[in-house]
Amino acid sequence: MAQIDARSSSITEVNRTVRKLSGNGEEIVISNPDARHLLCVGVLQPARVRILGSAGYFCGGLSDGPEIEVLNNVGWGLGDNMISGAIVVGQHASAIAGVGMRDGTLVIRGNMGSRAGQVMKGGLILCGGNANFMAGYMMMGGRIVICGDSGRSVGQNMINGAVYVGGKIEDLGADTQRIDLPASEEDEIRALLDRYEIKAPKAFRKIVSAQAGHHYATYERGESAQADERPRPKQIALPGELWTPRAVEEITVKAELGRYRVRGYGSFREMPTFDDITFNFDPDIITGLHDVRSKCNLATKLGGKFGGKPLSLSMPIMIAPMSYGALSKNVKIALARASRLAGTATNTGEGGMMPEERAEAAQMIYQCLSGRFGFNPHDMQRADGIELYISQGAKPGLGGQLMGKKITAEIANIRGIPIGMDLRSPSRHPDVMGADDLVIKIEEFREATDWRVPISLKIGAGRLRDDIKIALKDNVDFIQIDGMQGGTGASSEVVTENVGIPSLAAIIQAINGLRDIEADGQLQIVLMGGIRGGLDAAKAIALGADAVAIGTAAILAAGCIACMRCHIGSCIRGIATQKPELVARLDIEEAAGRVANFLEGMATEVAAITLACGKTDVHQLDRSDLVALTPQAAAITGLPLRKASRRLVPAGGV
């Protein structure tokens, strides 16, 4: 038996010791836990651990295989995202026990808090006492057994799996139904309770999904034959600027669908862009520029603030997060390869890390989203950075949407959901209800990766002046800001077109937010959302970004022709589709070469602009290099409206 006194060590030291001792069969006893957070996070080998007291948040989280016994209570997120193993809690568990778990067993002898088993994909939660409200909220698989009473809305919006309740049910959640349970199933549940010496109630009621939420009630055109047969509404053209053809079309389409419209791409409305500002160098300088890449430093490091190994990029440009699911396997592989060829990084997006993509990429950020689809602690170890997605520019406040046409057997398996369902990811993380919880979540990721990699946040631009201060205080390495022009595979059009602020305003808000608290330079910023080339990138960097990321531009480079069929999965170029015959149309090598070329071209533009501004390092660009071309852009950015008259001598005698 090995003893660890938690009072005389940091949590990181405790977890390192547990990991070191795991796998050799010895029992590990942790004394004086005093309800501290993150005990036994990231244990990826079998281990037997006894915790002599209470544990705090995320006990046994992001683990695979440990058997943990907690004498007393546990805080939020017991066994978060657990892959296998068993955790037995002597008394009570706080909210969201078993959040996102894939398999394994949680036993809670007392009561459990709200939203137990939220977005769980598999495994078993046994609760000897009562459950607070919304047990099984959005669960996608597995079983929850509640021997006592269940609070309000049990099983709310569950997709798959089952909840068994022995006591009183306050009320059933939306989209659930009560069904009879066969005697054999009841015997099985009783045997499970017996194994942990929990007294079984007289009888159980079983609650499962009513499955109404698996599919939209109505389909978009192109999604089903039925939808395509609907008579086309008449084209109406009214005079004036209010009832534009587009406004009228919106109304007729919503009248057909009875809901918001879903489509891919991004916002098409007019808004301020980087075209509204320009560089104030003397145009004559350009004639003297040649061989710009060798004269200008573009190397960029992201992260490292908390001791992890930073991303080391050849250029201040990365590939933006886009999921395998929204995009095809071929284009994801091509993007990963292109990022390696160009010496930069790519990003998994939602829905897990595809092995082929990981193999191609030299540096890869692993995204964690609210639904925890395909998110697992083993892939965390393979990542060069972890990113917690709060929201995205194309749909701030909403989770991802992946229409049923794109949910193949493989994608359903990775994500842990039924094949062909219209997947709407949760709009918020189960375990991040505010900035105060976020700080613990970020630290959980650090513990799970033993502080080796940068942890970042991705935020759709809204109230960035506030949000960036929160990000700073929540101890992330850098923040990825996504402006309103950001793209998407599928989103509610009303949100895409109307929620958020443009990228140009976003970077200004972020920088000003940091300046408010004299923290400029203390948090690295990556800007994305409608970045089209080196000019946009250089302007973003001059306004204060450390790097940019490209999504839409990258898939355009890969061959996208904007056929607008992303959301129905019929992309004729094999990019935003899962149909094998369409995916096969995308030649990985050719697409990778084109995207890599585009990245190199962008980098060359950035280098040329930097030199034209009289600087030899892209990170020396600043606001003084810019002017505004419109009064609106001047108001947003605070840049001078007229072109400055100074003449610049380019550096390095170019």
Binding site: R7, S31, N32, D34, A35, R36, H37, G53, S54, G56, Y57, L71, N72, N73, G75, W76, Q91, H92, S94, A95, N111, G113, S114, N132, F133, G151, R152, M433, G434, A435, D436, V439, I440, E443, R463, D466, K469, I470, K473, I517
Partner: protein, 310 residues
């Protein structure tokens, strides 16, 4: 976005030292500022008034503020029995029989200072920095009393400063204070309703509303239980808050249960906090029997009946 803690003892004890420990336990939830509302044992003495000056107590500016405050108190017929500067605070003990609200509004509007607290037993001490830093600066550990609440703040919207730190005193109402974790989303509408009744606010912080809202109802003769029950329905948004009065502590939790809260009731005390790790600071190494309140619920504990809690 924050962490909260509260404590009530059956016998007067080292309430300050214990709250410092409890708040250090949840400091990770709020690194920006830390504050305490502590209640001395009721000795039926003069009113205690704590004023934030925004400048060091040994400056001429501080003395000028003090003179203005003293003049206004004299105008209202009050008599200052004791006064001392503590860093940027001015602490007064005064005899005053008149309406507290009128006096407070005059002091703030006339002298340009900020009253942190007023009451027979209440003192609010808050500052930017950690629990231990505030303790070192204002010697919280030296405070004895029967109950108190505390807060660590992570500012999300309004500025990081003393004014917007918690606890919030119910401006103009003796001995009422709150600490809040969450966000009140019908803040503007509710604030306007109270302003129409002639009540004043000092900040743009949504949590200040809770203090004034509750105190206004208490002042109208409602019991703390009635007031908390109504608050669960009338306040919108996310909240886990603690309220303290001369002889009671209570909590209310929103229906979404977005913000955590853990309660420990045992012989001689009740303790409430955002996380169990805060409660464990009172009993390191012990196995505690705690519970989490249900969403949309409230509860109160009164000094007079606390002895019966077991």
């Amino acid at each position: 976005m924050c962490g909260i803690s509260g404590l009530m003892l059956t016998q007067p004890g080292d309430i300050g030292r214990r709250l410092v420990q409890m708040l250090d336990g949840v400091q990770h939830r709020g690194p920006d500022s830390t504050g305490f509302a502590v209640y001395h044992e009721d000795r039926g003495g003069p009113l205690l008034c704590r004023i934030y000056l925004g400048c060091p107590g040994d400056s001429s500016q501080a003395r000028a503020y003090r003179d203005k405050v003293l003049a206004i108190i004299a105008n209202h017929g009050g008599k200052v029995l004791n006064q001392r500067f503590e860093l940027e605070h001015l602490r007064l003990e005064l005899q005053y029989q008149g309406e507290v609200k009128a006096l407070c509004y005059d002091i703030e509007n006339g002298a340009g200072v900020e009253i942190l607290s007023m009451g027979a037993c209440l003192e609010i001490i808050k500052s930017v920095g950690s629990a231990f830093e505030v303790d070192r600066a204002y010697n919280l550990s030296g405070y004895r009393g029967t109950h108190g609440i505390g807060h660590v703040r992570l500012a999300t919207e309004s500025v990081v400063d003393v004014s917007r730190s918690h606890p919030f005193w119910a401006y103009g109402f003796n001995d009422v204070a709150i600490v809040h974790n969450g966000q009140i989303t019908n803040y503007h509408k509710m604030k306007r309703q109270l302003e129409k009744k002639g009540l004043q606010f000092r900040t743009d912080n949504d949590s200040e509303l809770i203090a004034v809202y509750l105190a206004d109802k208490l002042n109208a003769g409602r019991t703390l239980d009635e007031v908390l029950e109504e608050s669960v329905h009338e306040l919108d948004g996310t909240f886990s808050f603690l309220v303290s009065t001369l002889d009671a502590i209570g909590f209310a939790k929103d229906v979404l249960a977005a913000k955590p809260m853990v309660v420990l009731e045992r012989d001689g005390m009740i303790a409430v906090a955002s996380e169990e790790v805060s409660l464990q600071r009172l009993f390191p190494g012990e196995s505690l029997s705690t519970y989490e309140p249900y969403p949309g619920t409230f509860k109160t504990w009164h000094k007079s009946t606390l002895a019966r809690v077991a």
